[in-house]
């Protein structure tokens, strides 16, 4: 009798968990507000992204064509659904026809961005919960990292961080975050880039960081300098010292970079 109860309980729990998991995925990616009629783009989620147009001139949308990757078919049905939802929301930027608030000029784009952010975080939550590693998740992260909205980038960054490091992701971080103008994202992006120290991407990372400290947004440049310590090592500290010559000596970026180089030297000789 006890055994039967245990088995029944076990079966019930299993069924409940499976049901709960499926409904949660479903709930998370059901979006009633975004009722688009994008027949032109209906294959986008699983095949080619909308912005991979070959035309050189286009209406500059959220995603750059240059670095766009081909979106391959996601490996699991729930991920297919998740990515379909995300791309469907993204298409609202172009269509301008989604049922979203539009009371002031910026509100519509904000709303699209907020929806994307929410969905990306939901996806991230499931990925962390279930400890999922899948190249498709990285691809989704990289794709949405290109959206010109710091909130969306922030969520995409978390998605990329949940997955294995890759050359494509490193490039995406440099192009879409380090060379962007949102200083709030720099700490996270640079933590993520630390995963590439000692890898083949390291030199390019250092070059981009040095460049952005010189010619990037002054706010971003300072944020980079505040997080530069882990990147300075024996093979590149002289190059960073040369970088000082490109900076205004009175800038906080110059002062912090100099402090970090000096600190590296102290660490190297034991203090």
């Amino acid at each position: 009798m006890k055994k039967k109860i245990t088995i029944s309980l076990f079966t019930f729990l299993t069924l409940f968990l499976v049901y709960n998991y499926n409904s949660r995925v479903k709930d998370n990616f059901e979006d009633k507000d975004v009722k688009t009629s994008l027949t032109k783009n209906k294959d986008r989620a699983t095949n080619t992204p909308e912005y991979s147009a070959t035309s050189k001139k286009r209406n500059v949308a959220q995603v750059s064509t240059k670095k766009n990757e081909k979106i391959t078919k996601p490996s699991t049905p729930w991920l297919v659904k998740a990515s379909k939802q995300l791309y469907k929301i993204e298409s609202c930027y172009q269509s301008n026809k989604c049922k979203l608030p539009n009371k002031d000029p910026r509100e519509y784009d904000y709303s699209v961005g907020q929806k994307l952010k929410k969905k990306l975080y939901e996806l991230n939550s499931i990925v962390l919960q279930e400890k999922i590693k899948d190249d498709e998740i990285s691809r989704i992260g990289r794709h949405f990292l290109q959206i010109d909205d710091g909130h969306v980038k922030e969520a995409a960054l978390h998605l990329i961080a949940s997955q294995e490091a890759s050359a494509e992701s490193a490039q995406s971080l440099l192009d879409s975050v380090i060379s962007y103008h949102d200083a709030n994202l720099i700490q996270h992006a640079m933590l993520e880039l630390q995963r590439y120290i000692g890898q083949s991407q390291e030199q390019q990372i250092n070059q981009t960081l040095a460049k952005e400290m010189s010619v990037g947004s002054p706010i971003v440049a300072h944020a980079i300098s505040e997080n530069i310590d882990p990147f300075i090592n024996l093979s590149n500290y002289k190059s960073y010292e040369n970088n000082l010559a490109d900076l205004s000596p009175q800038s906080l970026t110059y002062k912090q970079l100099k402090v970090s180089i000096d600190e590296f030297k102290r660490k190297s000789n034991g203090g």
Binding site: D148, N184, P218, I219, D229, G271
Partner: protein, 600 residues
Amino acid sequence: MGKNNKRHYQIHVIYFLLFLPHVVFGFENWWQCSGKTGGEWNFARTPSVCLVDHMQTQSFVKSQYSSLIFNDSSNRTSERNRYMTEFNATTKETVRYYLLRRKPNVSEAEIEAFFYGLQALMHQETYWSHYRQPSDGKVRYMRGDVGHGHGVMQVDDRSHQTVLLKGYGADLVNNLIYGLDVFYSAWEKAPLSSCLKSPTNYKDRIRSAWAAYNGGPSKICRWTSQTGTYAAHDKDFLAKMNAKKWQSYITDQNKKSSIDVACLTEGNRPCAPPSDKTEDVIPAANKLYKNQAGSFCLFKNDHFECIDQLNDVNCLQVSEGQTYSKAYELSDVLEKRYPKIVLDRHKLCLGNIVGLIPVSSFIRLNKTINMRKTPAGELIKAISIDKEFQVLDFEVLTTSGQERYYKIREGSSTGYVYAGDIDSYPHWAQKISALTTGKLIANEDDTIKIIAPSGINLRKLVGGTLLETIPKNTELKVLQTIIQGTKNYLYYKVSYKNKTGYIYSGYINSPGTSHEWTQVVAYNFKQMQLAASIPYRFLSKCASTSCAYSTDAVRSKSLNGSLPDLLIILEVSGLWSLVENIDGSKSGWIKTEELEDVNN
């Protein structure tokens, strides 16, 4: 940036909205707005303005931006002309500095066009309105769009709340730079769009950049449509561009800004007014000089004595018994001709400011005091009377009054509290003997442990001859704590193998490295770290994966380039643990299974 055109007929709409308790996007209208005051739909006085106090102190704005505050009590016409002329000079210098930094080979034609675009943008967004001082004498700053738009560039709090909390709304130059980042991004993308035939078709490029600024990046070609929802905005913008009405208020196109735009753009606060040029061949003994790096120097007999930051000029002036009304430019040539001594701010200020409490000492608050992100900046919270803290830094803001602020940490918040002037300081905070926990910096008789992987050199003097290398994990009794320099470099006097000397222990000020050198041994708690299989993890604000992330990330030993964070478990809830790093600077929730014993 995400705001409507401000035209006369919209007043009614806005006032209608004011009386509705609704929120847009879940964001509160008129967030952090007190003392809201109206205005007029004309340059410099557009409604509405709110007190700067949530973001900056009154005294900071009045001392730093006095020439850029519109004074309501003055004659309206002459004040408008004065303000517009000054605003034009400041924004022109800001654009030039900004563009030359972002694009060193930029042409004069492009700088001119970009500035023209900014002038039209400021007209469209706010009629060039930023700071205003109504009859009560308290400075306010521009808020539009039911309070969501902040400052002359109308940075929207629905999308940019984090940066607004860092002062990018109220602080004029920060507001300009933040807005310019967005405008410049659109400016650079415009030539790639379908609606711009040539990058030098500046008129269309301005229209594209503004359409994206106003409507979002996907609206960069919005101005080409005659019928869209916001086509009227683009037409209105073009009309403003063509009319250039701002020109009629500017009395001197060649005026130089009264503020040091380069210093402020590069993130320094406070900045002295631009230095006066000097023809000195031999430095004068009674002049304060400012060198190219922004340090302030006095010439003493045959050498310069310099300090690195403007606030410390107050300590210098008290020490000299003299107030310097302005600084003179010190050329590299003149500076290099004489030896230079950099004065240590700790010795200088502690030796001259009455009752100033040193960094690493402990204080108890004698009043409930506001904590601000910087002495003059964003209000974080009120700290209750009788709370005790370790002093992490100090700032002296005035010479005659010797007004001082202390930097402290409460929970995961770090900021400054006002601690009185030369007369009132005992009423604000008092020095106490010691704290038992929460020490970032060790003091005499405390025990520290060496954390640096290769150990730390014991030297005869600070930075002197090497005596011994003390290996990792060695525990030592502190004989003396020494703090030096603007970053608060930390040194401990210790004894090891019968040799007494000094060890370096990183610096305290942000981003801080002291935790990578030594650790104060004050806890008996078990220390944990993030499992090596995870490179780093942002802590959660509650015990759930669906909860928002905090801004604190903890690193594991597998992350290259940095040491792992040592963590203490404060509380367990289900599968989650509330953790704090060893110096108390980071805290949040993490799954317990993602933690491992520090000895693993």
